[in-house]
Symmetry: C2
C-alpha cells in the first residue's frame, strides 16, 4: 500500500544526489486524510530545510489527520534546522511511514520514539533496501567515519591505462569522458596522487555540472609537485594538498589548502575528508595509490571504463599495483556488478564485497 508513495519519496530524494553532504538524501510526500497527495519535498543541501519541512509546508492544513511518507527517520535533534519530529507532531499527522531508521547517533530511533509517544502511528521498513542503497555513502560515513570510496580508471581491453611512455590522452571517447564528468558531479572530493599531477596535469572538475565543484585532493608523501598545474587555479574549484608530517615546513603553490596527515596514507585522508563532511569521494589515482587505497579498505565501488583498443605491454601502466594475493580464492571479487555501453567504450562497475 505505501510502496507506491515511498518510490515517489525516493525519487524526490534522488534529485539532490551528490549535493547534500554531510547530510543524507531525504525525500518526503504528504497525503491528506483521504489519501490524496498534498505535499512533496526533498533535502536539497546542508543548511537548507529538511524534506519533511518542505512537504509539510506545501500541504499546510491538509496535512492534519494525514500521512507523511519519508525515506529516512525524521530527526529529533536541533542541528542547523529545528527537529523534524516536532514539526510532524505539530502538523497533526495521523501516520508516518519511514523507509529507514536514521543511523546518526543523535537520532537512531529517537525520532520514531518521539512520534509514537505523541500518538502518531509509525510504520517502518517500507522499501528499506532501496533506501539503504540510495544513502549508502552517507550510511558508510556514519558507520565507519570514512567516506564511500569509488575508484575509477580508463583502460584498453588489454588492461593498460597508459602507453609505456605515459601517453594516455585519450583512451576513452567523448561519451565516456562526459560520463566521468557526471560521476565527479556526484562526488564531494576527487583524489589523485602526486604522480598523476606530474604526469597528466589534470583539471579534475565536473565541467560545471556541480556547483560548487568537488574538492580536488592531492595525496602526496613527497610534496614533489609542479609549480605550474591546473589544480593550482582555485578560482575554478578548491584544491587540498594532503601530506605527511616530515613536509610541513615545505611551501605550496598559492591557492591550495593543505592538511597534515599522520601517517600520510589513504585511511587518514578518508578520516580527514569525513570530518570535512565528505560522504562520497572519487579516486582517480595511479596504480600504486589505488592498490594502497584498496588494501586499506577505502574503496567500495570500482568503475572501469574499457575502450575497444589494444595498447600493449610492459612497461605500460596498469590500473592496480600489487595487492599481495597468492591464490585465486583471495582476490577481491564483486558482490554485484554490471556493464553498460558509453559510446564506443564500456563501463564495468563493481560493488566490492564486505
Amino acid at each position: 500500500m505505501w510502496t507506491r508513495w515511498m518510490h515517489r519519496a525516493l525519487a524526490l530524494a534522488a534529485l539532490a544526489d551528490g549535493s547534500t553532504s554531510p547530510n543524507p538524501l531525504v525525500g518526503a510526500v504528504v497525503l491528506d486524510a483521504s489519501g490524496q497527495l498534498v505535499g512533496e519535498g526533498f533535502h536539497a543541501r546542508a543548511g537548507q530545510p529538511h524534506a519533511e519541512v518542505g512537504a509539510l509546508a506545501q500541504a499546510g492544513a491538509a496535512a492534519r489527520g494525514g500521512t507523511l511518507v519519508v525515506t529516512l527517520e525524521p530527526c529529533c535533534h536541533h542541528g542547523r534546522t529545528p527537529p523534524c519530529s516536532e514539526a510532524v507532531i505539530r502538523a497533526g499527522l495521523a501516520r508516518v511511514v519511514i523507509a529507514l531508521e536514521d543511523p546518526d547517533p543523535r537520532v537512531a530511533g529517537g525520532g520514531i520514539a518521539q512520534l509514537r509517544d505523541a500518538g502518531v502511528e509509525v510504520i517502518t521498513g517500507v522499501l528499506r533496501a532501496l533506501a539503504i542503497e540510495q544513502n549508502r555513502a552517507f550510511l558508510h560515513r556514519v558507520q565507519t567515519g570514512q567516506p564511500w570510496g569509488v575508484l575509477k580508471w580508463a583502460m584498453g581491453v588489454d588492461g593498460r591505462t597508459a602507453l609505456a611512455n605515459g601517453a594516455s590522452q585519450w583512451i576513452s571517447g567523448p561519451p565516456a569522458r562526459a560520463w566521468v564528468h557526471q560521476l565527479r558531479s556526484q562526488m564531494d572530493a576527487v583524489i589523485v596522487g602526486g604522480g598523476t599531477v606530474r604526469a597528466d596535469d589534470p583539471l579534475l572538475t565536473s565541467r560545471g555540472r556541480r556547483q560548487p565543484e568537488p574538492l580536488r585532493v592531492v595525496l602526496t608523501r613527497s610534496l614533489d609537485l609542479p609549480a605550474q598545474a591546473q589544480l593550482w587555479d582555485t578560482s575554478i574549484a578548491p584544491t587540498l594538498v594532503a601530506h605527511g608530517p616530515d613536509r610541513q615546513d615545505q611551501a605550496l603553490p598559492d591557492g591550495a589548502e593543505r592538511v597534515l596527515l599522520s601517517p600520510c596514507n589513504p585511511t587518514e585522508l578518508m578520516r580527514a575528508l569525513a570530518q570535512r563532511g565528505c560522504n562520497r569521494v572519487l579516486w582517480e589515482c595511479g596504480p600504486e595509490l589505488a592498490a594502497l587505497a584498496l588494501r586499506q579498505g577505502c574503496i567500495q565501488e570500482v568503475a572501469a571504463v574499457i575502450a575497444p583498443k589494444l595498447m600493449g605491454g610492459n612497461p605500460a601502466r596498469t590500473p592496480l599495483g600489487h595487492l599481495g594475493f597468492t591464490a585465486m580464492d583471495q582476490v577481491l571479487s564483486a558482490a554485484a556488478s554490471g556493464v553498460q555501453a558509453l559510446g564506443d567504450d564500456w563501463l564495468i562497475q563493481l560493488r566490492l564485497d564486505g
Copy 2:
C-alpha cells in the same frame, strides 16, 4: 525477392561452422519452377559432397526449370569432388542466385562464366556482406595464405591474467569456460607458447564438442618443454610442436608431431598451418607471444573474458606484451566490437582494423 532464401542458405551453411576446413562454409536451397522449396543442402566436411550437390539430389527432377540459391559461387574445377557448375547445368536449372564469388583462384568467376555460357541466368551479390562475414576465415586464408587468427584471454577487471606467482585457475566462471570450449570447437588449431605449457599444463580441447578435436600447437623457440604434460596424450587430440632450425636434433615426447619453422615466428607458423588446411586458429598464449602475433598481423579478432575481480598488480601477468606504440593514435583499435554476459563474467570481442 531472393534474400529470404539466401538467409535460409546461409543458415544451412552455418550448421557446419568449424568443420569444413580447408573448404568454405556453403549452403544451398533449390526451388522448383513455381518457386517451391524442393531441396536443401550444406557442405559438412572436406571430401564430402558440396552443398549444391546435396540440394540438387534432394530436389531430383523438380529442379528442372527451377532456381538454385547458394551462398558461394559453384566450383568449376575437379577437386576431391566433381565440379558443381556441371551438376547445376545437368540438372536443367533456369537460374542460379549467388551471394559471393569464390575467391579460390581455381574458381574466381569461372563457375559463373560456365553457367552463363550454358544459358543459365546468374544473379550475384545477394546478401554478399553476410556471406563474407560467414566465410571470413576461409576468405582470409585464400587471400593471405594465413588462417584467420583469434586471440583469447581471461582477466580480472584490472587487466591481470594471473597473480604475481602465476596462479590463474580460475579467473572466469564455469559459463565462460564452457564458452571457451565452444570457441575451440570452431577452430582448426589452438596455439600456445612453451611458457603456457610449463606454467599451466593446459588440455586445450573442446571437451568433445569437436570431432576430431582441434590441432593443439606449441610454438617454442627453445623446445624447453616438460616431459610430462597433458598435451603429450595424443589419444585425446593431436599435438604439433613448432620450433626453429637450431633445435631440430632435439627429441620430443612421444606422440607429438613436429614442424620446423625458419624463422621460428608466428607468421611462419600461420603459413605452415594454412598449408595444413587450417582456416581459423585460436591463440591462447602468454603476453609476449600474443604481442608478437599481433605485431606480425596474425590476429584478426580478440575475445577478452573479463571477470568481476580485482587481482592486483605488478609483477602479475597482463594480456599483452610491448607493442611499441608511443602515441594514442597508433594503438590498435576495433573496427567492430561487442560485449555479452557469460555468467558472472563478460566477454568483449573486438574485430581489428585492417
